[in-house]
C-alpha cells in the first residue's frame, strides 16, 4: 500500500567491506575501487567504495514504500553520486513528499552528501 504521509521517508544502513563484497559477488565486477583499500587511499578516498547502485537501493525501497505498485509500472528514479560510502559509514537516505532523494553519511568526519536525485511517478512529477 502506498505511503500517504507528507513526512519524508527515511532509511539507515551501515556499510561494511563484507557487504561490498557480497554485492560485488553478484554484480560480477573486479573494479579495484571496491576491493583495494590501499589503492583507494592512494587515490584520495577514505577507503574502498561501495557500489553506487548499492547505495541507490535504499532509495528504490523508499520509492516503493511511497508509491506502492505504481512505481513498478510508472516509476522513475534518477540519482547523481556526490560522494563515497566506505566501510564503517552509516548511510542515511531520505525521500521527501516532493520525491527528492538525498543520502548522506552521518557518522564519519569529513564525509557528507553521497547521493542526490528524485524518485517520482512519470507524468506526475
Amino acid at each position: 500500500m502506498a505511503h500517504d504521509s507528507k513526512s519524508p521517508l527515511q532509511h539507515e544502513v551501515e556499510m561494511s567491506q563484507e557487504k561490498i563484497d557480497r554485492y560485488g559477488k553478484l554484480n560480477g565486477d573486479w573494479d579495484i575501487l571496491h576491493y583495494d583499500h590501499d589503492y583507494c587511499l592512494a587515490r584520495g578516498f577514505r577507503g574502498t567504495l561501495a557500489h553506487g547502485m548499492h547505495n541507490m537501493a535504499p532509495a528504490v525501497d523508499l520509492a516503493l514504500e511511497k508509491y506502492g505498485k505504481d512505481f513498478y509500472y510508472g516509476g522513475r528514479i534518477e540519482v547523481r553520486w556526490t560522494g563515497p560510502v566506505c566501510p564503517g559509514d552509516v548511510q542515511r537516505t531520505t525521500l521527501d513528499a516532493a520525491g527528492n532523494v538525498h543520502a548522506q553519511v552521518g557518522n564519519t568526519p569529513g564525509a557528507g552528501a553521497v547521493m542526490v536525485g528524485k524518485a517520482v511517478l512519470r507524468g506526475k512529477a
Binding site: G28, D31, M56, A57, L64, F71, G75, R76, E78, R80
Partner: protein, 149 residues
C-alpha cells in the same frame, strides 16, 4: 539462471576502453540473460532489501533495481571496462515488474549518446533498454560514467 558475471566482462580481464575509443551513436550488442528467483533472492540479501515492499496485487515481485547488476552487460560487450571507472549518474524508468515466481529472459541493448570533458574529467553517457523475451518493455536506463585517463 544467468549470473551477471556471465554476461559482463570484468575489469582487468582485457586492456579496457579508453575515452577516445567510445563513439557517440554506436549501438552496443544485445545482451541476453535470465533473471531467476534465486538471483532475486541473492540481490535482496545483498542490498538488505525490505521484503514487504516487493509485491504487486499479492504477487511477489523483484525489487526493480535488480536490473542494476546487469546494467553494464550490453555496454561492456563493445566497450570493456577500464579499472577506476566511476559511476556518476543513473536514471531508470520502470515499466513492468519482474516476477519473483518465474524465470525472466531479458534482452538488453544500448547506445552511446554523448562524450563530455568537463573540468578535466572525461564523461561518457549512454542509454539502454531492458526488454523481456516476449517483447514487454521492463525498463530503460540512462547512465553517465567517468572514464579515467
Amino acid at each position: 539462471m544467468t549470473r551477471p558475471a556471465e554476461v559482463k566482462i570484468r575489469e582487468g580481464a582485457t586492456p579496457g576502453t579508453r575515452f577516445e575509443e567510445f563513439e557517440v551513436g554506436a549501438q552496443t550488442p544485445e545482451a541476453r540473460f535470465t533473471i531467476t528467483p534465486a538471483i532475486i533472492d541473492e540481490y535482496i540479501r545483498a542490498v538488505e532489501g525490505d521484503e514487504k515492499l516487493y509485491a504487486v496485487d499479492g504477487r511477489r515481485a523483484a525489487p526493480p533495481d535488480v536490473l542494476c547488476v546487469y546494467m553494464t552487460s550490453t555496454l561492456y560487450q563493445k566497450y570493456p571496462p577500464i579499472q577506476g571507472m566511476i559511476m556518476c549518474e543513473v536514471a531508470f524508468n520502470y515499466h513492468h515488474p519482474i516476477w519473483r515466481d518465474e524465470d525472466t529472459e531479458v534482452r538488453m541493448s544500448g547506445v552511446i549518446t554523448e562524450k563530455v570533458v568537463k573540468k578535466g574529467r572525461q564523461f561518457v553517457k549512454w542509454k539502454g533498454r531492458y526488454v523481456r523475451a516476449d517483447g514487454t518493455l521492463l525498463a530503460e536506463v540512462e547512465n553517465t560514467v567517468a572514464v579515467p585517463e
